[in-house]
Symmetry: C2
Subunit: 256 residues, 2 copies
DNA sequence: TAAGATTTGTTCGTATGTATC
DNA sequence: GGATACATACGAACAAATCTT
């Protein structure tokens, strides 16, 4: 006989601890005041006075905000707490913590890359400056010659991943750029820590590099369809290469 | 003449505070021990003893891990700290904090959706159970009839976003599912808080609903190409609809 | 229901470290 | 180098939550 459907049963009001509540209050206050990165927050003493809580509680609240990258603190005169822009690296790390408990395979990552990167390439055709194109070519210098051993192979692969992340930076879509950069970061970590990509392969090196050279040419000339097609081929090749690697799951925390 | 390029100059060793170092040590220890969600962590007293630091310092360290969703604590006998699986909601919130400082437009979101959702639909064709298809149809019941006012229009739009998020859950790619779910969450928040989608439009309602009906049919019959095409049309329509909305930027912290 | 045990949560006073002037 | 202003850290006591008996 309930007159309305229960949309939010809220079975338990979880009674958060004081530091958590203080942290939320400060967060809300920052938004309300429209503060931006670099702006000062009240000092410990004032917060103690304003919230009528002990120093320890206030400090725990600040730690919570610090851990989320929302505030930074400095000691000394002129020091204090400041609104902090959440860095991309920190966002990567926090998100990686989530995926630590999920079962992500390399195939999963490449399924997403195959969908995102061709679209990104197409959207950038004819929109890059000479300086940006030159930067991409500079990155490619790191694999101008085929790798001679496993270590060099890994370094080249990392550089190649940086090529993709950098390219996505040149667009104006911060969401797209973050997603692509996040995947590149995961693959980089796997390459470095898990010692993936051990075996140099001259044929694959050449085909991958040619792809990127063609891609730069298409981007420079403004040929969006070609850029999309080339990137799609590139991703397809990389994905196929990955199938040889075991379906390794992500199993590590990313350092803060 | 440098023999090797400097890859990690590390210009400043930033001397992290003690609680941060303790938090990192505990994190590393958890990984090292291979602990999984639900496993017990040492109690405050033992940590104080093991790290030889004060209670306050240990507590701040735990707050840092709590803020990242990595541990949960309970009071009372049998209480203590436990390894906590980072929830999707928390990951959403932490990531949203990052984008709070970026300039994300609705067009950006739709550019990514247009790339991801058709691929997701194609990958799921013929792979859904009857129960899953029924669940999608149940969601569609929320917009079986056209909306009569702005409020109802928003509720329908939220339900429609849930359709997409739920669909992505049915796949096995947790990365893809997270990205799609994250975007759906942002659009939901915008709809609810920013009062987007105010004007009911019978024509758009019908076209969107027909898309989803066709999509379900294609998913049921296992026609991947059709599923991809239909989802692409659906996204294209939604993106065009969005161009009428102002390029609203995300401006709020998501509640913890 | 009530009492006791256990564990985290909170406070306060004091002392130390660090960066600026 | 000394004074100042700020966060950082410690320790002991007390409060609150929750499980067991």
């Amino acid at each position: 006989m309930t007159p309305e459907k229960i949309t939010d049963p809220a079975p338990k009001p979880p009674r958060r601890s004081r530091p958590v509540r203080v942290a939320e209050a400060i967060k809300d206050w920052v938004v309300e005041q429209g503060l931006t990165p670099g702006d000062r927050l009240p000092g410990e003493a004032e917060l103690i006075d304003r919230f009528q809580m002990s120093k320890g509680t206030i400090r725990e609240a600040m730690r919570i905000l610090q851990a989320q990258g929302l505030v930074e603190t400095k000691t000394g005169p002129g020091g204090g707490s400041f609104v902090g822009k959440v860095s991309r690296d920190r966002a990567h790390a926090l998100l990686a913590n989530y995926f630590y408990f999920q079962n992500i395979t390399i195939a999963d990552i490449y399924a997403v890359r195959q969908a995102l990167e061709p679209a990104m390439a197409a959207s950038l055709a004819g929109r890059l400056t000479d300086a940006q194109l030159a930067e991409l070519e500079a990155i490619m210098e790191h694999y101008a010659a085929p790798a001679k051993d496993a270590r060099e192979e890994r370094l080249q692969h990392v550089a190649s991943l940086r090529f993709h992340a950098r390219l996505s930076d040149f667009g104006e879509n911060a969401l797209l750029s973050f997603f692509i950069g996040f995947m590149a970061q995961i693959l980089t970590d796997l390459t470095v820590y898990k010692r993936l990509y051990a075996a140099p392969n001259h044929d694959l090196w050449k085909r991958g590099r040619d792809h990127q050279l063609d891609l730069i040419a298409a981007l420079r000339s403004g040929d969006a369809d070609s850029a999309r097609r080339i990137m799609a081929s590139h991703m397809e090749m990389a994905a196929a290469l990955m199938e040889d690697q075991q379906a390794e799951v992500l199993k590590r925390f990313i350092a803060e």
